[in-house]
């Protein structure tokens, strides 16, 4: 199957998922408002801190907003594309996964991209707007910085993808997904602020072992010109390795899938 056909299947599934999401207009509006409120409340919190303290861990208010906007961009992109993972447990428990496995479409792609969440779209645009506004206030931004920022955002998405594949694998092996997935969300939320704020050994742990720092702090730092070449190289290396091992785990999980619910 070619990429264009995969994209066509994805767009069809997203279209149907969007129809389901918009079935209750009231619910859809409430969820969007809720997401915007969550964004606004933390931004408000940062503003209050910024006005009173001038600098947090050496970062100015606009830099803090830039880190937060970058976090939101990556987090919302992952949620938009990978929303199907949140529905995966039901598929394992009710046996629907068997149906997915028998279809002539890669089950991993189906389980990851089986319907994007249209309700995340407003926040994606808002995050992009805040990234641009905050970046314009930081200054000293180069074209190279912008290029590396975009590449590292792409790398961050791959790391998010690896985490979601890991969650799917755990789901196949144990049927327990919900809190593992939300644990990932909580871990990435530590990246709402630059990882420099945390003390060692936690800082090292969430930079390299659970690479929240690589996902969120590193791209933002790259744009500010505060990331070394080694840092950029390590980011891509860890992104690639995580993705590779997550695929290995997925294959391992599928081999041990017992299909008990079918």
């Amino acid at each position: 199957m070619s990429i264009s056909k995969y994209l066509k299947v994805w767009s069809i599934m997203t279209f149907y998922t969007a129809q389901i999401a918009l079935q209750s207009r009231f619910g859809a509006v409430m969820f969007i408002i809720g997401k915007l409120l969550r964004f606004s409340f933390f931004l408000f919190f940062l503003l209050i801190l910024g006005f009173k303290t001038k600098a947090i861990a050496g970062y100015s208010l606009w830099q803090m907003i830039f880190f937060f906007a970058t976090f939101n961009l990556i987090d919302t992109l992952a949620q938009f594309f990978l929303r199907e993972v949140y529905r995966f447990r039901t598929y394992v428990v009710n046996g629907f996964l068997d149906f997915i496995l028998t279809k002539p479409f890669p089950p991993l792609l189906r389980s990851l991209f089986g319907g994007s969440d249209i309700l995340d779209v407003p926040l994606i645009f808002i995050s992009i707007a805040f990234v641009i506004i905050a970046a314009s206030h930081i200054g000293q931004i180069t074209l190279f910085g912008i290029l590396i920022y975009n590449l590292l955002i792409f790398n961050a998405f791959f790391i998010a993808l690896a985490f979601h594949i890991f969650v799917l694998s755990v789901g196949v092996l144990t049927t327990e997904i919900d809190n593992t997935l939300f644990l990932y969300r909580d871990l990435t939320q530590m990246g709402r602020i630059p990882v420099d704020v945390y003390q060692e050994p936690l800082r090292g742990l969430i930079t390299f072992f659970i690479p929240v720092g690589i996902m969120i702090t590193f791209p933002a730092k790259a744009l500010m010109g505060a990331l070394s070449l080694e840092g950029i190289f390590i980011s891509f290396l860890i992104g690639g390795l995580l993705f590779y091992f997550s695929l290995k785990l997925w294959h391992f999980a599928l081999k041990h899938y017992a299909s008990v619910s079918s």
């Binding site: 619910g27 409430m30 809720g34 409120l37 919190f45 809190n179 909580d186």
Partner: protein
Amino acid sequence: MKKYFLVAKNTWDEMLTYRLNFTMWRLRGIISLVSIYFLWLAVIPNNGSVFGYNRSLILTYILGSSLVNSIIVSSRSYIIGDEINQGNLSNFLIRPINYLMYWFAKDLGDKAMNILFSIFELLILFLILRPPFFLQTNISYLIPFFISIFLALFLNFFFNLLLGFIGFWSPEVWAPRFIFFMIESFLAGAYFPLDILPKPIFAVFQLLPFGYSLYFPLKVYLGQLSLTQIYFGLLISIVWVFGLLLIAQFVWTKGLKVYTAWGK
């Protein structure tokens, strides 16, 4: 009462059914706490203060909010809306059991487990982080602190009930809950102590019930309120508890009249 004790006890077993899920859930709490803890640690200088809070007070507020949250916010009654929508409420209506007491017992079971694990987790964090913690020893603050926690527990139970009762009129029970808790956590003071806000905004927040589930108990614990302020706060809490009780009873009665066991 024995049957409600058994309901609470069964809630423990339910929560421990999926052990991995349970472990991950506990880890989530620790991560959220550590995240906000280090942010405040970076914000407040060693011997300085911000917003009238020194390091010891703000970190006590943050760590205390984690424990108080585990007592107050944890709940099982969030399922009520789905129970109504799926028609499962019928099973309870024909049983010799008070539906509201049943969910209150489940909530208590949930809270008991949360308290137990939160204390254990906080102790470990204390040993690792060794934060400058403010230990309140004055009994005249500790008694109103426990009373305010007790009242906050009821406040949140009635909020959960009312959100669940939306199921009588609409299948959309999760979206209002999502937005409500987003607003509640902010207005309750989960992000920061509410008194750092501009005075007119803070004055309005003081009349709302949300601050009485987190901010007010913690301020009482920190000993930062006068006796008059404490009595006034407790009075507002009591008014809200009884107000919400009456509203919940009214909505429950109205809801039962429109309940059609649809979905069964």
